[in-house]
């Protein structure tokens, strides 16, 4: 008998009497200001919000904010950066990226999270190898909480989907909080409405 068959047989033999699956109630709460809730939650998790001044183009804003950056790699056509994700063939090429730029599909007010998949990253590891990440987020896409967030169809068709909430972090040594552990050191959300035709992302590459 294969291991699979053995395991399943043992499981089925030992399963206790059936218990019903509960319905998950709706925790609807009127969300007064979803942007403010989101921004506050994001700040708590170590992320920041940046709003370009009137008339300043996104590209210019990003370059000015990361003046020392040599490589700005963008996965969204709204920001050119110095390198487009569409040129990347091997994910390891992103090792030298100072700033990655992406547009998130939506945000979650409860936690200050943004949602991204391979569509938004172009190359997944852009969200982790970059030293810094800039995330464009349309405030209208912010949902109140994770129950709402998990209704997003992306969980059923994306190969890889991630909630990013602030920068990478650790407190493994003496409980001292370190922001910028092994992934991104900073995460900056820029509230920008998505273009009416939807954000055109570069053609999906192999990774």
């Amino acid at each position: 008998m294969s291991s699979r068959a053995q395991i399943l047989a043992r499981v089925r033999r030992n399963q206790p009497a059936w218990r019903a699956l509960p319905d998950i109630p709706s925790f609807e709460r009127p969300l007064v200001d979803s942007w403010a809730t989101f921004a506050s939650a994001l700040a708590r998790m170590g992320g920041s919000v940046a709003v370009p001044s009137e008339g300043v183009a996104l590209d210019e804003f990003v370059r000015a904010r990361f003046a020392q950056a040599r490589v700005i790699c963008s996965a969204t056509p709204e920001v050119a950066g110095t390198r487009s994700i569409s040129t990347v063939r091997d994910p390891a090429e992103l090792e030298d990226v100072d700033v990655g730029v992406v547009r998130a599909a939506f945000g979650v007010a409860e936690t200050g999270s943004v949602w991204l998949s391979e569509r938004e990253f172009g190359v997944n590891v852009l969200g982790f190898l970059s030293q810094h990440l800039v995330v464009l987020l349309d405030p209208r896409t912010i949902v109140p909480d994770l129950h709402h967030a998990y209704r997003h169809p992306g969980f059923h068709d994306a190969r890889y989907a991630v909630f990013m909430t602030g920068p990478s972090a650790t407190a493994d040594i003496e409980g001292v909080l370190v922001r910028g552990a092994q992934g991104i050191r900073t995460l900056t959300v820029i509230p920008v409405a998505a273009a009416a035709t939807g954000s055109a992302t570069p053609a999906r590459r192999s990774s």
């Binding site: 399943l8 129950h147 990478s168 493994d172 040594i173 003496e174 192999s206």
Partner: protein, 459 residues
Amino acid sequence: MSRVDHAEASSKFIEAKDHADFHDKRLWDLRKKRDSESEAMPEWETLRTLASAIKEHTLTHLGDYLEEFEKNATANGMVVHWARDAAEHNQIVHEILEQHHATTLVKSKSMLTDECEMRPFLENRGVEIVETDLGERIQQLDNEPPSHIVVPAVHKLRGDVAEVFSRTIGTDARNTDVLYLAESQRRHTRPYYLKAQAAMTGANFAIAETGSFVVCTNEGNADLGANLPPLHIASIGIEKLLPKIEHLGVFVRMLSRSALGSPITQITSHFRAPRPGTEMHVVLVDNGRSERLGMEDFWYSLKCIRCGACMNTCPVYRRSGGLSYGSTYSGPIGVIIDPTFNLRKYSSLPFASTLNGSCTSVCPVKINIHEQIYKWREIIAKRHQLPMVKEEAMRVAGKVLASPKLYRAAVEAAAAGLDHLPRFIVYNPFNAWGRQREVPSAPASTFRQWYVKNRGVER
């Protein structure tokens, strides 16, 4: 196999005062942070009830959900393997690595791989393994197991980490700055992600409906690993199944709040299919779980989502440290699952508890931990795995306390002649009590003597 002596190990732990004090305060702080989160959510107790019910439903239908998961995961392009036990898990992983000529592996935190003792198995076969989680890496470099399932090096102070790193990755031994140490590990580990041929992760949850699995981390290490090498292997215990994506709303909301008092981990990743041109393998592991499913008093332990909240609240764990339990799983959850791995070896663990019950109160899936601890004690006593001294003391106590005459003789003697606790409580000379405490003083008469004298006559 020799028994773990928790009391002995705890004595050494407590002696290192600075370490012990820090350990206790740090974990109590995590417990308080959890409290803040739970108090801020009016639906907290409702979510606990839901999480518990969802897990109980899933476990009682586990066969179906495992098959559904496998079907969907396979359709998504993953390869699903089944391992009956630790040895088979290790063999499967090794075979996958061999097929891909992978000799360098980066891995994120997975208690299951520790449980299976995978690392020495693979290292003996020429695989270089780099633990990427900072706490796990410290422990790996120090050749010591992790002590806590969420914060593996919580028992170490920065000076200890500086010593380990200077010895192994060439940092400055005199620099104990935490940011410096963390940055050093970041820089040292980064090249490994780029050159590794394979990455391993665990999984916090596996979703039957979509054939996907979820990995919750803070450091970015799991996702660096998973998204660089062309091979990703995920080890998943069969009890990690959940039916649907919507259930993640409940569990992801509770996991990090329970573990660290933070609303969500910095990175919460959902893997449903491999990146084109790469491979993703899932190893579903039994290793005693299906057997535990059939244990009427103990199957609830399978609901565990490995948050560590029970460890943080446990006053015994905080003052003895995870390593004193001698097992991958320590603290309250360890106490109730370790005896299923080896009853004799872990027979002292269910007694490393005051049965205070706060573990049960903080468990996000409402495992009745302290009740299971109580039940394990009965099994251990029945199988004569108690220390002889205790077994004898209880036998004597049982006889004395069942007889009014014997009891009265013992109590009156104890009350009268008092350097010792009543012998029916402790059979040994009870130096144990008196090491750090004064004994109660002798009253003029017992209550019963007073009562007979003042209120009634002997009938």
